[in-house]
Symmetry: C2
Subunit: 248 residues, 2 copies
């Protein structure tokens, strides 16, 4: 395999791009110093597996840059993505040794890692961390429940539109803007990974993308870059309440 060199900067916590949103968001200067002492970075390139389901995982981590997926696989090969980790999201469960899912870097990825034991120790002694972790976990549970509605009840077209809206929103969030009007972004997933996310086949994903394109809801630049002329039109295709999400 060709070995591209990944050259993400190794930032100090003080100017870390996820400083204000990650698990360390509420830490004071002295707490941050403690974290700084036990942290280290890992980089992966697009497509690499971070850990296999069942393997032991000796660290937990924050996603600094890039996107990682959590995927479950059945014996006969059916796959379902169950988590999509974007910058500032937290990976791993401090109290658990074995990874329950495959973790895959779907784009080039930088993790800020902490060995499990010292991190568990900090959780026990630093309310700012455990409180933030609880908050983030509750947010993730909310997201999982939205996702369940998508998987259980939405049509293929609604699934695709919802996925595009989610990515557009998270992308805007990272850029410190709001998704509205004309919007453009890069897909962090292949068609196959999108299918695993949405509980569809990759052919159906492809067909529905083409259909949204034909109907002028989106246009493509290459396979990965998406342009949405009017974000509200995309939202109309998601099946969600027209208000609901805007303020949330």
């Amino acid at each position: 395999m060709p070995h591209r060199q990944l050259a993400f900067p190794q930032s100090e916590c003080a100017d870390c791009p996820i400083r204000h949103r990650a698990v360390c968001a509420r830490c004071e200067t002295d707490e941050l110093e403690q974290l700084e002492a036990i942290k280290y970075y890992r980089n992966y390139e697009a497509g690499q597996t971070v850990v296999w389901a069942g393997d032991s995982m000796d660290f937990v981590a924050s996603v600094v840059r890039g996107v990682a997926s959590l995927t479950q696989t059945m014996e006969d090969g059916r796959r379902q993505m169950v988590g999509l980790l974007l910058p500032s999201d937290f990976l791993g469960r401090p109290s658990r040794e074995k990874a329950p899912y495959d973790v895959i870097a779907t784009t080039d990825l930088q993790l800020c890692c902490f060995r499990r034991a010292p991190f568990q120790n900090m959780i026990d002694t630093t309310p700012h961390i455990s409180q933030r972790l609880l908050e983030m976990t509750l947010d993730e549970l909310d997201a999982a429940r939205e996702w369940m509605l998508l998987l259980g009840r939405k049509t293929a077209r609604e699934k695709i539109a919802s996925f595009l809206a989610i990515i557009a929103r998270r992308d805007a969030q990272v850029q410190q803007t709001i998704a509205q009007g004309e919007v453009g972004f890069d897909l962090p997933l292949t068609r196959e990974a999108m299918a695993d996310y949405l509980g569809l086949t990759l052919e159906t994903v492809s067909r529905q993308m083409s259909s949204l394109k034909r109907d002028g809801v989106i246009s493509l630049e290459g396979k990965r870059r998406i342009l949405v002329p009017d974000f509200d039109v995309l939202l109309d295709e998601t099946g969600d309440d027209s208000d609901g999400g805007v303020l949330a």
Copy 2:
């Protein structure tokens, strides 16, 4: 509406049936006294709505007895259940005022409630509570991810078998036994609620139940009581790894 009287006992924390598994599981005697001071019970009968999505909710609670569902509804009426709360499960998010989902008592239900503000205060000052809440939330996230695999990738028959296995396991847990060999339990949901849980129509639920019955995997006593002659045979129908779940 007829008004049956619900007569659940109002227990002291000391002999509460969920004492060792609920959010208060790790509390010391003095912490328990603090909780005891702010707790109160609410009872609901099967079918009653506890809160509507969007309503403000001035309490959080532990399920003491019975079963409650969290359900999301789309504008056009499509419904997806996104949470099923059994005894010891926690309801509500301390930091959130408005309920994001409909909460419905699917059986007669007893809640042990705490007003939000004092409870939030206890979370901030009592690590035993916030740690336990984090642990429970992470468990719920795991369950949500299993559920996502079910919704996205399993067949109707596998969905039904998986649901029955989940209920049998949770039921056994409450009875302090292990689900294996011959197993019997009551369904806490109507066919329609099962359909909302599984992302199916009620007709498909009914057909698949009949099919499992025809094949001798289960038998029915009335509409609600299920008998499973051999739990392993049921597990074979779930599509899950044959090992995986037994020890988990």
